[in-house]
């Protein structure tokens, strides 16, 4: 049995499942995330998309009776559950083995004290630290070793709840929240060694005790920034062989002491002024870093780990890259990797951008090049942040003093600030003194800045052009083009052996290795770049399935992507893999080399869609819906025309460019209005405005980045939101199913709870939806997939938007309807007709099961992010609940999303005035279920008047017995808080929501969500009563 978890583990689980199945082993998979490839029907023998909780896993183990569990390939949650099952004797009594690493080894690596003891035993240095279970002990120890100290909670993913404390006040806050968040109520207080180098090693060990290191990595940001939030290079750059080998030997000693069988990650801090080092952490499992190491070297860590777990030794496993050598060797690189995290700060304007020991990134990009400069530049443009060099326009206006001050801030823009500082003549030493970043790296930025200056001042000679290219400058920056990139191969061995796997990166050295001899037609599939809010692994799912369908049809497939945490960047997915930024110029280089027959863009999210025009201009055939027709869905005027032609209504609206135009239109439409930029995914910059001031605020915010397209202002319509994914072949339509959003329009579809099949929609409306879908698909000449959002207002169906591309619901609807949507769409794109396929046309037969998709948020990780839901998407993942009964499906989804289901207890209700009436029936229902209600005086009086008991609690800063005290007391089961207008962080509501997040108390900001929770609770069903369902049987 295997576990799955977040996106970065999809590649690991997928590799492991495929490998185990190849070995003839029956695989049972449990994962709550439906957007993953590993939860596909053919990946494992039994697939449970169920909550990753001990209770549910126990139930599945009893049903499936596996021989063993392989817990080290699915992230922290799976490992934790396996340990809990071991500790309480469940595994022993059911005769289930733990593969990979022994429970003892896991404990030694994961438990802070056991880890320290083990390191002491083998003579490996740790940082002065102490495990504490109470705040008092934390305080005492901090006094003993002196501030600053770092707080690290035990058993939490991504170091949730930790941080550096410079004052006793900070220590109190952080230690208390850390103790609360830790599964075992344990935190580590440790001496702060910020400024040391942070170095990681990926190590592998087999049952014979043979050990190898796959890769080492150096963080450009010294210790103090979570490695997931650091800019990382591989291999290490500033370590001499002596230090390199010292740490390598230590890593091997550690993995041997822990007797790990499989992959493991060891993090070190190294004093930059001596050989002194300390072991920071060991992860006895595949991790985010191992995904990076895997893609950086070409060494399939997860696959090899799985083989080791079932008994193979390293020298028995072939290195598939060379086909000659074996897994028991260490990759050597002849290029440099740069990884840059992708942060969600553009989604959370109020959030603190400061980086520390709490990881905030949602994803990452990786770049490969022969030099650090070029690799860094590639990574920067892969981020898709509208920046393609080290110049950040907003820094231009700052004074030298402000820039110098800015250097002190450890945040997501630091690298740009360093470049700006160098431009202003602040020297490398000064910058090093302020940032403690190694001079070696600052010098690399300086070299880039120097070229930037030459490009501005000098005549463009051939020498300068080539130098600029080799440093990663694009034509767009240089403003001229006559050098084309060549491609080199990632081969694990620095060309020592001939490599078989076509895994390429661009360089401006001569000699193009990406020469292919094939008679097959080549198709380019564009990936979706880094995982960010609004564009997650769902799109990687689509790209990978498209590749598989194309291969099956006999095409040669080429994938371009830059996200190391994906299945699509595994070298054995497409025939040819290009690890490159997804920009016009980078893709053009690939097109020059490959000369593909065509390209498919509709599966790669907005990243791929944005390149459609450029590809068309390069003369690449767009397979499926054309560029012109895609544009007709995005361009407001053309879209209105199309809808009118079809006779489909939509909420009234206009396009504007300026605030004044916006206010004028809003007043004509009458408030509230929905404001949003065109051509975005995930509702970026979208907001509902209730008055002129808000229109001004929102439009100004959107216009902070240059808009090539107008801003849309629409009448905001209240009503039920529905969503459809469909496939159209030019004649017929196939609709897998209609999905209903439980939250009303106004909350982004990606943040809504989504139900299939619909529960509250009448036949008449369903018919209209099908009719509209077909009409608009035909009008827009869609070939392939499309996604439509509808709203039902006063019994009438309106279209809100049409996306002639794959959506984030495709994996979900594919799984719950058992219809291979991407596979079918790919066949249609290649010219086949739906009527010749065995799936039928129209609406596909409705499933007997109800599936509820629920969003996952990471608010606790992003300080000062507003948690209230609205038209801009904020969720970072999703889980699924499946059952024959709606109430059970939704209960499962709530459990899977991590909500600690409250069957009784205390609820705090604070809602805006206009929600009071609507809140009343919910409060009554909760009252009936036996919940005790707290409310502020106004709300409490209103409830009492209407016969609901409520206890008064003082407003936020009203002294004794106020809301913060209540939240801090730990007595609350959950909070209902609907946001008042405005996003300002000084408001009470904002503070309540943040307090709730930090105290880990569920806080619902939409009444519809509470209604859904009520449906889950109403029947009193408990987790242990729920039957896990093998998704393959649906």
């Amino acid at each position: 049995m295997l576990f799955g978890q977040a996106a970065e583990f999809d590649y690991a689980g997928t590799q492991a499942c495929r490998e185990l199945k190849k070995e003839g082993i029956e695989v049972v998979l449990v994962n709550s995330n439906p957007a993953t490839i590993m939860t596909d029907k053919n990946m494992a023998d039994k697939i449970y998309i169920e909550p990753l909780t001990k209770k549910t896993v126990e139930k599945i183990l009893e049903m499936e009776k596996p021989d063993s569990i392989l817990p080290n390939l699915g992230g922290q949650t799976g490992l934790n559950i396996a340990m809990e099952l071991y500790e309480d004797g469940f595994l022993t009594s059911h005769n289930i083995r733990l593969l990979g690493t022994s429970p003892d080894g896991i404990k030694k690596a994961e438990d802070r004290q056991a880890f320290k003891d083990t390191m002491e035993e083998i003579g490996e240095p740790c940082i002065a630290s102490k495990v504490v279970n109470t705040y008092e002990d934390a305080e005492n120890f901090a006094n003993e070793i002196g501030l600053p100290v770092i707080v690290r909670p035990a058993y939490t993913l991504g170091g949730t709840g930790g941080g550096i404390c410079y004052t006793m006040e900070e220590l109190e806050e952080t230690a208390k929240s850390g103790l609360h968040l830790s599964r075992v109520h344990q935190v580590l207080i440790e001496k702060c060694i910020s400024g040391w180098k942070e170095i990681e090693y990926e190590v592998m060990r087999d049952k014979n005790g043979s050990c190898i290191t796959i890769c080492n990595m150096e963080n450009i940001d010294p210790v103090g920034v979570h490695t997931g939030d650091s800019i990382v290079v591989a291999p290490s750059q500033t370590l001499a062989d002596k230090e390199y080998q010292m740490l390598r030997t230590s890593a091997i000693k550690i993995i041997s002491a822990l007797k790990i069988e499989g992959g493991c990650n060891v993090q070190f801090a190294l004093n930059p002024n001596s050989f002194e080092y300390a072991v920071i952490e060991v992860n006895p499992r595949v991790s985010r870093s191992s995904a990076l190491a895997s893609k950086a070297t070409g060494y399939p860590i997860a696959k090899v780990s799985a083989k080791i777990a079932i008994g193979y030794t390293l020298d028995e496993i072939k290195n598939e890259v060379t086909g000659k050598t074996y897994a028991s060797f260490e990759p050597v690189l002849d290029y440099v990797i740069v990884k840059i995290p992708k942060w969600p700060f553009n989604k959370f304007l109020t959030a603190s951008r400061q980086l520390g020991t709490q990881m905030k990134a949602t994803g990452e990009v990786m770049a490969i090049a022969p030099s650090i400069e070029q690799s860094l530049m590639k990574a920067i443009r892969s981020l898709e942040e509208n920046v393609d060099s080290l110049e950040l326009p907003k820094l231009k206006g700052l004074t030298n003093e402000e820039i110098r001050e800015d250097l002190k801030h450890v945040d997501n823009e630091r690298i740009f600030v360093i470049a700006e500082a160098l431009r202003r003549g602040i020297n490398v030493d000064t910058i090093h003194d302020i940032t403690t970043i190694d001079k070696f790296f600052i010098n690399k930025i300086q070299r880039l800045v120097r070229i930037e200056k030459r490009l501005k001042e000098e005549e463009l000679s051939k020498e300068l052009l080539l130098t600029a290219k080799k440093m990663g400058y694009t034509d767009k920056v240089i403003a001229r083009n006559n050098i084309i990139a060549n491609f080199k191969m990632v081969d694990t061995c620095s060309a020592e052996f001939d490599a078989k796997t076509p895994y390429y990166y661009s360089s401006y050295d001569e000699d193009n290795e990406a020469v292919s001899k094939t008679d097959k037609k080549k198709v380019l599939v564009l990936g979706s770049g880094p995982i960010r809010i609004g564009q997650g692994i769902e799109f990687d799912y689509c790209s990978v399935h498209c590749v598989w369908a194309l291969k099956e049809k006999g095409y040669e497939t080429i994938i371009v992507n830059n996200n190391p945490e994906t299945v699509s960047t595994d070298f054995d997915i497409a025939d040819r893999l290009y690890f490159e930024p997804l920009t016009k110029e980078d893709v053009e280089n690939i097109v020059e080399t490959e000369k593909p027959y065509g390209a498919i863009v509709q599966f790669g999210g907005q990243t791929a869609i944005k390149l459609t025009k450029a590809l068309t201009e390069m003369g690449v055939r767009i397979l499926g819906t054309s560029e012109r027709d895609m544009d007709r869905a995005e361009d407001r005027e053309l879209f209105d025309e199309a809808l009118e032609k079809c006779g489909i209504p939509r909420p009234k609206g206009e396009t504007v460019f300026t605030v004044d135009e916006g206010i004028k239109v809003a007043n004509e439409l009458k408030y509230p209005v929905l404001i949003r930029p065109s051509y975005v995914l995930g509702g970026q910059g979208m907001a509902i405005a209730y008055d002129d001031n808000e229109v001004r605020e929102f439009i100004n915010e959107i216009n902070k980045t240059t808009q090539e397209h107008p801003i849309l202002v629409d009448k905001y319509m209240l009503g039920k939101e529905l969503e459809v994914d469909a496939i159209f072949d030019g004649e017929d339509i196939l609709i897998p199913g209609i999905m209903e959003h439980l939250e009303r329009a106004g909350i982004h579809s990606g943040d809504s709870i989504s139900v299939y099949p619909t529960q509250h929609i009448n036949i008449e409306n369903q018919k209209t939806i099908i009719e509209y879908t077909k009409k608009i698909a035909k009008e827009l000449n869609v070939i392939g997939v499309l996604n439509i959002q509808f709203i039902i207002n006063k019994g009438n169906v309106y279209i809100i938007e049409v996306n002639p591309r794959s959506s984030r619901t495709v994996p979900y609807i594919s799984k719950v309807t058992n219809l291979p949507v991407i596979d079918i769409a790919t066949h249609v794109i290649l010219g086949e007709k739906l009527k010749d396929m065995p799936y039928g046309t129209g609406v596909y037969k409705q499933s007997d099961y109800v599936a509820v998709k629920m969003p996952i948020f990471s608010f606790e990780k992003i300080k000062n992010a507003d948690t209230s839901l609205g038209p801009e998407m904020k969720s970072t993942g999703e889980v699924l609940g499946v059952s024959k009964v709606f109430s059970e499906a939704i209960l499962k989804a709530f459990i899977a999303s991590g909500v600690n289901i409250p069957y009784k207890g205390n609820v705090l209700i604070t809602v805006r005035d206009k929600d009071k009436i609507e809140m009343l029936p919910i409060a009554q229902k909760l009252d009936n279920l036996g919940f005790h209600i707290f409310a502020t005086s106004g709300t409490a009086a209103f409830l009492e008047e209407n016969g609901v008991d409520a206890e008064v609690v003082q407003k936020i800063w009203e002294g004794e017995n106020s809301i913060p005290d209540l939240i801090g007391s730990g007595k609350l089961s959950f909070i209902i808080n609907t946001p008042t207008k405005g996003k300002h962080e000084s408001r009470d509501g904002f503070k309540i929501r943040r307090l709730a997040v930090e105290s880990k108390i569920p806080c619902f900001t939409a009444l519809d969500t509470v209604e859904a929770l009520y449906e889950a609770l109403e029947k009193g069903t408990k987790e242990e009563d729920l039957l896990p369902i093998d998704i393959g049987t649906i």
């Binding site: 014979n208 005790g209 043979s210 050990c211 190898i212 290191t213 291999p235 290490s236 750059q237 500033t238 370590l239 001499a240 062989d241 002596k242 390199y244 080998q245 390598r248 030997t249 091997i252 930059p272 002024n273 001596s274 030794t313 390293l314 020298d315 000659k324 050598t325 074996y326 028991s328 060797f329 260490e330 990759p331 050597v332 690189l333 002849d334 290029y335 440099v336 022969p370 030099s371 650090i372 490398v428 190694d438 001079k439 070696f440 010098n443 070299r447 080199k488 061995c493 620095s494 060309a495 020592e496 052996f497 001939d498 050295d509 001569e510 000699d511």
Partner: protein, 356 residues
């Protein structure tokens, strides 16, 4: 200033000259290490060779002479993709370019090291000339072909014998171009090491009250070392004390006992060579630097058995001599550069020495 590497097959690689401005003819080999450039450049086994570093960034952490494997660099030339403009490491005393200048080592940077490596891999190790002018490639090729590179061991070995350390175990080191860290590895383990030149008579080893003998690494074709082979044959026959052979020392013991050596197509030079211990079944990652190997078919099973093999190509990596306390390995347990995983060989050797 532009410079060129011309290979004997006529291929030309262009780069920018670094280090000394002299022209040299050398055997061109590649090394895949990502760290340890100073250790490589100062390893006497590279005498007569120009080294291509496959890792594209060289000089990142500067250098300190305390990391050198001998008193000077022995490489004839260095070929790199890029030399770091600014070095950074707390121990660094010198930029790599200043070092190359000081010791008059010529080189090229900015050349396509990957393409060059692929060519050496596919065509095999070749000789080449580093030059500033390619106006007459044909005569350069002729010149390259005529050049013979011999007597390498003689040029790198110590001229006189000397003793280091004052540990309690007395070890004799047969120096064919020994790396400093072989001596250090012994000194660290409480030994006194007496170093003897390559042409020392075997009697010196037998009469000096030594408790163990180490045959060092060294450059070139082992068959060239006829005098050494004769003396090692005597040691094989008469020595009653344990012998450890490393790299060239391993090959010479093989030749002395009737085995044959042959030249590998492009050698093993790097930090990542997997070697399997056939007794423990464990695989160690080893540091390697050799162009020749012992032919497994030529080994007399009554004299020696294969103890270690290379996982990649199955070549002989270690021999255990039957009825003798002689162990030889093709790789470098002293590391520097490269993994320290096989340093246990020194412990095992000294355990035997001290058991006497």
């Amino acid at each position: 200033m532009k410079g060129y590497l011309v290979l004997e097959n006529g291929s030309v690689y262009e780069g920018e000259r670094i280090g000394a401005e002299k022209d040299v003819i050398c055997e061109v080999v590649f090394n895949t290490s990502m760290t340890g450039y100073l250790e490589i450049f100062t390893d006497p086994s590279y005498a007569g060779q120009g080294v291509v570093m496959t890792y594209p960034l060289i000089g990142n952490y500067g250098l300190t002479k305390e990391d050198a494997e001998s008193k000077k660099p022995w490489v004839e030339a260095v070929f790199v993709h890029e030399i770091a403009e600014m070095e950074s490491n707390f121990r660094s005393k010198m930029h790599i370019l200043d070092f190359l200048q000081e010791y008059e080592v010529p080189g090229l940077q900015g050349i396509n090291t990957r393409k060059l490596t692929k060519e050496l891999r596919n065509a095999g190790t070749m000789k080449g000339k580093l030059t500033s002018s390619i106006s007459d490639v044909d005569s350069i090729i002729k010149e390259i072909k005529e050049k013979t590179i011999t007597n390498l061991v003689e040029s790198v070995s110590s001229k006189e014998s000397y003793t280091c350390g004052n540990g309690k175990t007395k070890i004799a080191l047969f120096d064919f171009g020994a790396k400093q860290n072989i001596i250090q590895s012994l000194l660290k383990r409480d030994c006194e090491v007496t170093v003897f030149p390559w042409d020392t008579s075997y009697q010196k080893f037998l009469t000096g009250k030594f408790e163990g003998i180490v045959l060092s690494n060294g450059p070139g074709n082992p068959e060239d070392c006829e005098i050494s082979i004769k003396n090692i044959k005597k040691l094989y026959e008469e020595a009653k004390i344990p012998i450890l052979g490393i790299c060239l020392g391993h090959q010479l013991m093989g030749l002395a006992t009737g085995a044959k050596t042959y030249k590998l197509k492009y050698g093993h030079r790097g930090p990542n060579h997997p070697v399997k211990d056939l007794y423990s079944k464990r695989v160690c990652i080893t540091s390697q630097n050799h162009g020749y190997a012992i032919d497994d078919k030529s080994i007399n099973p009554n004299i020696a058995e294969i103890s270690h093999i290379n996982i990649n190509d199955g070549t002989v990596e270690g021999l255990k001599y039957i009825g003798k306390e002689i162990v030889t390995v093709q790789y470098h347990p002293e590391a520097c550069p490269g993994p320290e995983d096989s340093s246990y060989l020194f412990d095992e050797f000294l355990k035997k020495v001290r058991a006497k």
